[in-house]
């Protein structure tokens, strides 16, 4: 990391931070917590996605029992690319 750089631990974690304190201090690093985004930023994100053609890569299944089971199997097998979406029939 460059001095003054920032680390964003974005996934759910219940443990303590595993980053060594000394390097945070001597390089002026930040650990920045962040949960989701406020509504204003979500609206900006939607606009940005249209402007820059950003789309999540998705796999879809019908919203029924088999669809849920198949989607979860794909997830457990580590084969989801990259978000599974259940679509109402």
């Amino acid at each position: 990391m460059l001095p003054g750089g920032t680390i964003y631990p974005l996934t759910v974690e219940f443990g303590k931070t595993p980053v060594r304190m000394l390097k945070l201090i001597t390089s002026g690093l930040n650990i920045q917590g962040s949960a989701g985004a406020p509504r204003r930023e979500i609206r900006r994100m939607l606009k940005f996605c249209v402007q820059h053609d950003v789309k999540p890569t998705i796999m879809t299944w019908p919203m029924n029992k088999k669809g849920v089971e198949d989607a979860l199997k794909t997830l457990k097998d580590g084969k989801m690319r990259y978000r599974g979406v259940l679509v109402v029939e």
Binding site: M1, L2, G4, G5, T6, I7, Y8, P9, L10, T11, E13, G15, P18, V19, R20, K23, L24, S27, L29, Q32, S34, A35, G36, A37, P38, R39, E41, I42, R43, R44, M45, L46, K47, F48, C49, V50, H52, V54, K55, P56, T57, I58, T60, M80, R81, Y82, R83, V85, V87
Partner: protein, 150 residues
Amino acid sequence: MDVYCVNRKEYISHDRDEGSFGSHVVWDADALFILPDEMKSEHAGPLMCGGATVWGALSQYNVKATDRVGVIGIGGLGHLAIQFASKMGCQVIAFSGTESKKAEAMAFGATEFVATKGLKDLKHIGKMNQLLITTSEQPDYDMYVSKRYT
């Protein structure tokens, strides 16, 4: 900010009869988003959670177009983080365990790809201003924040 409001009511832990599966529902318009016409509903879904999580980090803490942004993990969050940061003008360094997702990461807009399995340090990688951790398990932070690299 609404996500940190002390009186917030969060999905899953509050209002469990919220009506997601209903044909109609009454909601406070302030808490809703009008989707752009160009956006499909199935694409909007993942943006509301994984997308918002990485957008929140990239949009609120002074990330600049000249920054080098590292993204650890190429999955639901990471594949969007790479696209956002790349389209914001940043150099994006994608970190993944193996080489298997290299082509996809580069297609999402990564400028560099690093397979971390077996690596002891990152001396050969240019240093970064921002580092987004999107893996379900915590990475080996010593590799990213160490005497040799930081």
